[in-house]
């Protein structure tokens, strides 16, 4: 045994340094891949943002006008004449909302998929979005409308915050119900998770419909609530952008504290625990962040399905599987996805004004099916 040990020591002294050097070099190469994907996504997002400034309901702008408008928004140069500067700013607001909502939903999906260790988890499938929408609708109902409709003027000023708060509560209740019911013996069973998700979605949709029929008396209110079920990016206010930004910032701030831990979760929760992960705290933190992100997205733009499931999945294929790269990439990939979908539909369909939820469902639905078919083998063992 001593001879063996000696040989080993020698082995270390001769080969090891170069091996270790190779090791870190290739690690560096690997580390660059998510970074490269991030750069590409960022550039793509910039292009999409500029493109979305060009296209709008009042018609397409000249490129030169778009640049002038952007410069004027930054405080450089003169604004465009007449209402055109306003148009550019409205389009920018819409794009910003799409960026925030896309980032929130993708981040939420990435976190949920990590916690549940399943790439089928997403805010809309396990009922978080529906719960948040229910919370938001309840708030809207009890305040008599969205924002300025409130009969109590002093409450109206805080309406978006109240609606978001209630959306968060609704989402949190849905999340905890799903988590509680799908957990058996410390493990989350995937079929149960999906079934509970279906049930929670159904209950939330039923309650939403009930609220709608109460709201029917008020035509405009009921239409506002209906719009919630497919989402909208139209005519959002700057206040909502700020709210979205704050929610996203808080949720994204948890990334450094849960990303590595979620990687360790991949080999099983007990295993992560043995490595020193405070599993309960990490799960709570990640679920709260996911719920908050989904809730602000829902309270600002309603339920937009599939961003939360498709975006993280694609990013996992592109940028490696570690949550340390996946979660930050979600902050870029989600926006690219939603801004892209929104731009495409306005560009291709013109004034059709399809709600983003519809477009996402049209893209996301088939993709989800593809995912199911591709994972057939894995699913057979559930």
């Amino acid at each position: 045994m001593t001879a063996k040990r000696a040989a080993r020591v020698q082995h270390v002294s001769t080969d090891s340094p170069s091996d270790v050097a190779n090791l870190s070099k290739s690690a560096l190469k690997r580390g660059r891949r998510p970074r490269r994907v991030a750069v590409i996504l960022f550039l793509l997002l910039c292009v999409l943002l500029v493109l979305s400034l060009r296209v709008g309901s009042s018609g397409n702008f000249q490129w030169s006008d778009v640049w002038r408008g952007i410069l004027a928004m930054c405080g450089l140069g003169d604004p465009l004449p007449g209402a055109q500067q306003t148009f550019i700013e409205l389009r920018a607001l819409r794009a910003l909302i799409a960026v925030g909502v896309g980032a929130c939903l993708a981040l939420s999906g990435g976190l949920l998929q990590g916690v549940f260790r399943n790439s089928l988890a997403s805010p809309s499938i396990i009922g978080v979005s529906a719960g948040a929408a229910l919370g938001a609708s309840t708030a809207m109902m009890s305040m008599g409308g969205y924002g300025p409709f409130s009969p109590l003027r002093n409450v109206a000023a805080y309406a978006p915050v109240v609606v978001t708060g209630c959306a968060f509560l609704g989402g949190l209740i849905a999340t905890s119900v799903v988590t509680r019911l799908a957990t058996a013996g410390g493990r989350i069973s995937v079929p149960t998770l999906l079934l509970v998700g279906i049930a929670v979605n159904a209950v939330a949709a039923g309650l939403l419909a009930a609220i709608q029929s109460f709201a029917l008396r008020d035509y405009e209110l009921s239409r506002a609530i209906v719009a919630w079920s497919f989402g909208t990016l139209e005519d959002r206010s700057a206040q909502q952008v700020v709210l979205l930004g704050i929610g996203l910032l808080v949720a994204a701030a948890t990334i450094p504290f849960v990303a590595l831990e979620l990687d360790l979760f991949a080999a099983g929760e007990d295993d992560a625990k043995a490595l020193g992960v405070h599993t309960g705290r990490v799960k709570l933190l990640a679920l709260c962040a996911a719920t908050l992100a989904a809730a602000v997205a829902v309270s600002v733009a309603g339920q937009i399905a599939f961003v939360g499931i498709v975006a993280p999945h694609l990013l996992r294929l592109l940028g490696g599987r570690s949550h340390r790269s996946l979660l930050p990439l979600c902050l870029l990939g989600g926006p690219v996805f939603l801004v892209g979908a929104d731009f495409l539909q306005r560009w291709l369909l013109g004034d059709a004004f399809l709600q983003p939820g519809v477009v996402m469902s049209l893209i996301g639905g088939p993709f989800f099916l593809y995912l199911l078919v591709r994972n057939k083998g894995a699913m057979a063992t559930w």
Partner: protein, 277 residues
């Protein structure tokens, strides 16, 4: 100075203990076990399937909270220690992973350093050194760049041990390390674990393999139905009077000499002649 892991009268049952529907009928997976391990000691826990060996290991590792009794690491309850503190002192080598993560071997071994990472989870030079040492120790440098999914059973086992080594803990709790390995690799793993114990770690290995246990362990502990049947040196446990009630009469006992004195062995043996007659 030397620390100690102490298990005192521990009970544990899965499901709700003393449930209303079947009062008293819930069998405890672990029913009143005592154990003491100091650094530098190699203890093997043996027993038939479902005897509660793995549950005992999880209790020792603080992953489960005992229903009754206590698991103490230097006087502190193991399951209520801060997870990171616990992981720096006790490393677990699981029998297998719930799912094989699609990580590179090096990344996987690095995860053993989790308990040492700071707020921003950035590995420092000490962490990198520990990982490199563990990989070298486990002879994994050639496969560092491979994905976990591409490894053979033996390599995977070494990766699991390497990760535990990266934890640089005082105690190593190993669950069935040789299940899917061939004879050569079995021997290799046990020899290695023994060496780790000699280097000053306290090692508990849960295993089916009575002979490997007899050859390398300082102490054996035989349990059945969550209770201790026998405990002591190999020759005190591996004898007919102890094993026959558990494994049946068809056993053949023998002895092999080692530098540390003669070690008993046992093989399942059915005299065909007896049957025929």
């Amino acid at each position: 100075m030397a620390s100690a892991l102490k298990v005192k009268g521990v009970h544990y049952s899965y499901g709700d203990p003393g449930g209303v529907d079947r009062p008293g009928s819930v069998t405890d997976a672990v029913a009143g076990l005592d154990l003491e391990l100091t650094q530098g000691e190699f203890l093997c826990v043996i027993g038939p399937n479902g005897s509660g060996k793995s549950t005992l290991l999880s209790l020792c590792a603080g992953l489960l909270a005992p229903d009754r009794g206590e698991v103490l690491l230097d006087g502190g309850a193991a399951h209520s220690m801060a997870p990171k503190e616990r992981a720096r002192r006790m490393a677990v080598v699981p029998q297998s992973l719930a799912s094989i993560p699609s990580l590179l071997v090096e990344t996987f071994v690095s995860s053993g350093r989790y308990a040492y990472l700071g707020v921003w989870r950035r590995p420092g030079p000490l962490d990198k050194e520990a990982v490199a040492m563990a990989m070298d120790e486990a002879d994994l440098l050639d496969v560092a760049e491979r994905s976990m999914e591409q490894l053979s059973g033996g390599q995977r086992q070494r990766v699991l041990v390497a990760r535990a080594l990266a934890q640089q803990s005082e105690y190593l709790l190993v669950d069935e390390p040789t299940n899917s390995l061939d004879l050569e690799h079995k021997l290799h793993v046990f020899a290695w674990l023994k060496r780790l114990a000699c280097e000053g770690r306290g090692v508990i290995v849960v295993t089916h393999d009575l002979n490997l246990a007899s050859q390398f362990a300082d102490r054996l502990m035989l349990i059945r139905d969550g209770r201790m049947v026998a405990s002591g040196g190999p020759s005190e446990v591996l004898k007919r009077s102890v094993l026959e009630p558990i494994y049946g009469p068809n056993l053949h006992f023998g002895e092999l000499p080692t530098t540390a004195g003669a070690r008993p062995y046992v093989v399942p043996w059915l005299q065909l002649g007896d049957e025929a007659r």
